[in-house]
Amino acid sequence: MNTRSAPSGLDARPESLSRFLHGLPGVDEVGVAGRAAGLATRSIKQDSKRWAIDTAISMVDLTTLEGADTPGKVRAICAKAMRPDPTDDSVPRVAAVCVYGDLVAVARETVGDAVHIAAVATAFPSGRASLEVKLHDTRDAVAAGADEIDMVIDRGAFLAGDYDLVYDEIVAVKAACGTAHLKVILETGELRTLDNVRRASWLAMLAGADFIKTSTGKVSPAATPEVTLVMLQAVRDFHVRTGRRIGVKAAGGIRTSKEAIRYLVLVNETVGDAWLTPDLFRFGASSLLNDLLLQRQRMASGHYSGPDYVTID
């Protein structure tokens, strides 16, 4: 377990964040890659595949985060979020729609209470703005109807070892969220090492994150099985210590059903059943949904489908 050098209670901020985070066990990158590769060979077929595809659909945060986004585009993905396959009512809704703050109102108007609205906030994706701006960004999104906030951490501060700054920002954003759930984006592609991923995961959880999220999708690499595995280990160990279940969101770069199912296997064999719910695991993705739908159609019809049989947003 990852907690042996942690203070006995994790309700309050550890006396020294630096000492606590650096006391976490190291992560061997090659070992993690080996474990992830091993789990990637799991062969998920038939009923289990059907179940996995539907579960994955229900975990999607259908995302559009382009400078070119328009209300029309957002309405389109909202429609799709509520009814991913217009020809098939048995397809579950996705978990949420994820948009920039200025489009939250449009989204909320379209989906009503049917799905969650997640807004990226805090000067997404770089996070390079004053705390005041970040908090305003957050309050603005919540006020517009977002019930989930995807914030970015200050990677520069993290890499510089200024953990207190990162912690304080998360605490402040969390407060600004009110009742909205807070997803903390670690941007693991900029943290570079899995040791940093583990530390950032703990830092975010200690500061009050409801979810820890791999990436903005704007930095490569985004989500990887290795990074997600380390984050899943962190939430597992945090749960052992505190009894609290923190969610994990793998975002960016996940495009195929096969990949998504591999992530579900990672979840299943690292943290177990309890996390196999949209409340605790999400995919941040856009094109993934269509591939899940194509696979679903294939399994239902017995033949391969084609891109003209799913909707383009």
Binding site: D28, E29, V30, G31, A33, R192, T193, L194
Partner: protein, 287 residues
């Protein structure tokens, strides 16, 4: 004028850096090539062999923990001490083997030079015998030689010094300790070599020299569970060699078999290699 009476030396066993009599109290008469009395040598018993193995195990721990550079220096020091006793060795070899002075000198010189040759190998073995292995994966992988441990050896019966040095040195240079049974009929030069070893900074127990009958002592060593390897170079009796090799199987000892060897010829690395284990270490390479 009365002739001065020579002060004779008592020939003892060399165990754990000390000169000891056989615990059995036995001796055997050693004669020169003409059959004249030379000395009573201690006749090692199975308990002497047991004590020698205990000493060797201790010696091995110290010796294998030393740096290769240090082992090389110590073995070179042995050669220095041999050079200082060159005349004594020549006399010993003449008595033991019945050869003329030039022949004995040639053997002694070759023995000293051989010790120097082996000494120089100490800090090169890992480079020459070790490897870096390009495994198909993100791992750093290397193989290095490690000493086998305690080696029981029978020195050549005929080549009383050059043969002895050619057996002892390659065992020692890799970090092993040895229990060596000297030539049974010609132990004289071995006795002098023990005096050299005792004054050469060789840690106690690294080389233990027994005199006596290999037929009596070797089976105990071949079956001893704390002996890791046998060097049967000097076992001339084919039946004994087979029996010892068979006994060695009891604890899967490494065995270097008896073989006629031209001691004058330049040695290869075969003897050193016989008493080294190759250890391979893997470690991941990641950030």
């Amino acid at each position: 004028m009365t002739e001065r009476i020579e002060v004779r030396k008592t020939w003892k066993l060399y165990v754990g850096g000390a000169f000891v009599r056989s615990e059995s109290g036995r001796t055997f008469e050693v004669n020169d090539a003409t059959g004249a009395f030379v000395a009573n040598a201690a006749k090692a018993s199975r308990k002497d062999a047991r004590d020698a193995v205990l000493a060797a195990r201790k010696g091995h721990l110290a010796w294998s923990a030393a740096t290769a550079y240090n082992r090389g220096q110590v073995l070179y020091r042995v050669a220095e001490m041999m050079e200082g006793r060159r005349a004594q060795f020549v006399a010993d070899v003449r008595v033991a083997e019945g050869v003329d002075a030039p022949s004995a000198e040639q053997q002694v010189d070759a023995a000293i030079d051989r010790m120097v040759w082996y000494a120089g190998w100490a800090d090169k073995l890992a480079q020459v015998l070790g490897t870096n292995n390009p495994v198909a994966g993100s791992y750093f992988n290397f193989t290095i030689p490690a000493p086998t441990g305690v080696v029981a050896a029978v020195a050549p019966q005929h080549s009383s010094l050059l043969g002895l040095v050619s057996v002892v040195a390659p065992i020692a240079v890799g970090g092993n300790a040895s229990v060596v049974i000297a030539s049974a009929p010609r132990p004289g030069p071995a006795i002098t070599l023990t005096e050299v070893l005792a004054t050469s900074d060789v840690p106690a127990g690294v080389v233990n020299l027994l005199t006596g009958d290999p037929v009596e002592v070797m089976p105990w060593l071949a079956a001893h569970a704390d002996v890791n390897a046998l060097d049967l170079t000097g076992v001339d009796d084919a039946d004994l060699a087979v029996a010892l090799e068979r006994d060695a199987a009891g604890t899967v000892k490494r065995v270097r078999r008896a073989a006629s060897t031209d001691w004058e010829a330049a040695p290869g690395l075969g003897r050193i290699r016989s008493f080294l284990e190759m250890k391979t270490v893997w470690h991941p390479m990641g950030v």
